[in-house]
């Protein structure tokens, strides 16, 4: 009996660690280690096939700072990110507000706005690539009907950025609206009633109650959007189909940093240099996340 008791006690002490260890072991091997080791690789001349060719210190970083292809990709990434994220968050907030009114067939509307998110990113890139095709795409046909000449969507910087932003927003606006809706539902109804009694317009209620109450969720959503947006890869890759899609257009007009990373690693076979790109991208995400929080903290909260 005593031995059994002791065994049970020992089991109870060890079990929690046994239960959480699968997550930590797998994450350490396939998540944390690769991320940290990227920093080590970035300090080497490291080739895809030949392996480690020696420690080079910060040489890769110095080269990157002078690499105009990298700066172009960075401009593209940030441009598309801003062009996509700002309207997306505004639309999602408005949509959440609409979904929060008393509606018939609630689940139907929610499913309707979430449908795009079920579509894979690859499919989104392919479908929109055809919708924005130069010669027979439906967008150019519709523009032609109202007298606007055909736009070579892939051909220019501004137009490819716009098309890619539309893809991103199509896939994510509804999803974010649902997350904002969840947080809206926890706003006490009395706040709105009091505002209505005081004669506040719907617009005023939106800015003085909804937006401040949603602040933590807006911060969360925009950080997630930042992490995804800075790593944008699939949509632009499949938007510019063809064998050299990784180049992001004939003059790299819509090549993102993540695409440049993959191009350097696998086409250029420069693992060390590509790791430098990855690590800079990581710092960039951290930087933008901090900026995001700092900016959105300035929304005044309701006390």
């Amino acid at each position: 009996m005593r031995i059994r008791d002791r065994l049970t006690k020992a089991e109870a002490r060890v079990a929690p660690y046994a239960f959480v260890s699968p997550f930590f072991v797998v994450f350490a091997i396939f998540g944390l280690f690769p991320l940290v080791y990227t920093l080590w690789v970035s300090l080497h001349d490291w080739s895809l096939l030949a392996g480690d060719q020696g420690f080079v210190g910060l040489a890769n970083y110095r080269e990157l700072m002078k690499d105009s292809d990298f700066w172009r990709a960075l401009t593209n990434t940030i441009g598309i990110f801003v062009l996509a994220t700002v309207p997306q968050l505004i639309l999602a907030t408005v949509l959440a507000q609409v979904l929060n009114t008393r509606l018939r067939a609630r689940t139907f509307w929610r499913m309707g706005v979430l449908l795009p998110n079920v579509t894979s990113v690859a499919a989104v890139g392919i479908i929109f690539g055809l919708i924005f095709a130069r010669d027979y795409g439906i967008v150019n046909w519709a523009l032609g009907e109202i007298g606007v000449g055909p736009v070579d969507w892939q051909g220019h910087r501004w137009s490819s950025w716009l098309a890619i932003s539309i893809m991103v927003d199509w896939r994510w606006t509804g999803y974010n609206a649902l997350i904002l809706l969840a947080s809206l539902q926890s706003v006490p109804k009395e706040l709105y009633e009091a505002a209505r009694i005081d004669g506040a317009s719907a617009w005023r209620q939106f800015w003085s109650i909804t937006v401040p109450m949603l602040r933590p969720t807006i911060i969360f959503v925009s950080i997630v959007a930042t992490i995804g947006g800075i790593q944008l890869f699939t949509e632009p890759l499949l938007f510019g189909s063809g064998v050299n899609a990784i180049a992001g257009g004939s003059t790299g007009q819509f090549q993102t940093v993540a695409m440049y990373l993959v191009q350097q690693a696998f086409t250029g076979q420069r693992f060390g240099y590509a790791s430098t790109v990855a690590w800079v991208l990581f710092l960039l995400i951290a930087f933008f996340a901090v900026i995001n929080v700092a900016l959105l903290r300035r929304i005044k909260s309701v006390d």
Partner: protein, 273 residues
């Protein structure tokens, strides 16, 4: 008041139409011949070529589309089962068991949700090469058998779904922690496990970047097969769209059947985070 309400519905209808339009378009183009696709005005209604186009997708010798469907199903299912089991175990431990370092470890789990681990893809590639797994399906499955989001979600659910008295009572009866997990906790976690399973399956089915980099041409998943279809030398639009349709259909069906649960899971997840 009434007019404002109908304005809301008009806005919603427009939003839902915009959501569905690209998918409808995909179906239109998948059901047309290439000649019809490049005619003006572009076709806006369904054509008669869907099944012939689908046949061409499955017969295409370069892409192995049928194999890709099976592979995706396999990879996504294995990852889903593993994520649900490992997340339930860890979630239960974090919610209901006392142990040293619990709070710090939980904080770490939450942190992993905010770290872009995809950026470690170069060392991950080197690691998979060393393990001899590059190119095969193991390489796109193994890294995804656990998920920080899953652990956190199950922890939140376990906290309110499992009364402490239940666990105490089982302990009094001399049940081990493993026993308690399998006979009491796991059954109680089933609703959340189902939602986590759905979300995980969809995420794995749609995964692109890492499979695109690591898988060889003999082991495509659906998304990789799609990118190969669309990056051919000449663009066979109706073939590409038919492939995209088949690759999208399974998840749309899952979504229509389990939409309510999926929406619940997403809204809960956002609220808690």
């Amino acid at each position: 008041m009434r007019s404002r309400n109908s304005l809301l519905y008009v806005g919603l209808v427009a939003t839902v139409l915009l959501s569905a339009a690209p998918l409808y378009f995909m179906l239109v183009m998948a059901s047309r011949t290439n000649d019809e696709i490049v005619s003006l005005p572009p076709p806006l209604s369904l054509g008669a070529e869907l099944f012939p186009n689908l046949d061409r997708v499955f017969d295409n010798p370069d892409v192995l589309f049928g194999q890709a469907l099976v592979n995706s199903l396999l990879v996504a299912s294995v990852a889903t089962v593993c994520v649900v089991v490992t997340s339930s175990l860890a979630g239960f431990a974090f919610a209901k068991l006392k142990f040293k370092g619990r709070n710090a470890l939980l904080l770490f789990v939450i942190g992993t949700m905010m770290v872009p681990v995809q950026l470690g893809l170069i060392p991950l590639y080197m690691l998979m090469t060393k393990l001899g797994l590059n190119g095969g399906l193991e390489s796109v499955t193994l890294p995804f058998v656990v998920a920080g989001f899953g652990v956190f979600m199950m922890r939140q659910f376990a906290q309110q779904a499992i009364p402490d008295e239940m666990i105490e009572a089982a302990r009094m009866d001399g049940a081990s922690t493993f026993r308690i997990f399998f006979s009491i906790v796991f059954p109680a976690l089933r609703p959340a496990a189902a939602v986590l399973g759905l979300l995980t399956f969809m995420e794995r089915w749609n995964d692109f970047l890492w499979p695109y980099l690591t898988l060889d041409s003999d082991h495509p998943t659906v998304q990789v097969a799609l990118s190969r279809l669309s990056s051919g030398y000449y663009a066979d639009q109706s073939l590409i769209m038919a492939g995209t349709f088949i690759g999208t259909l399974p998840l749309v069906v899952v979504f229509i059947v389990f939409g309510r649960q999926i929406i619940g899971g997403i809204m809960e997840g956002g609220l808690k985070a």
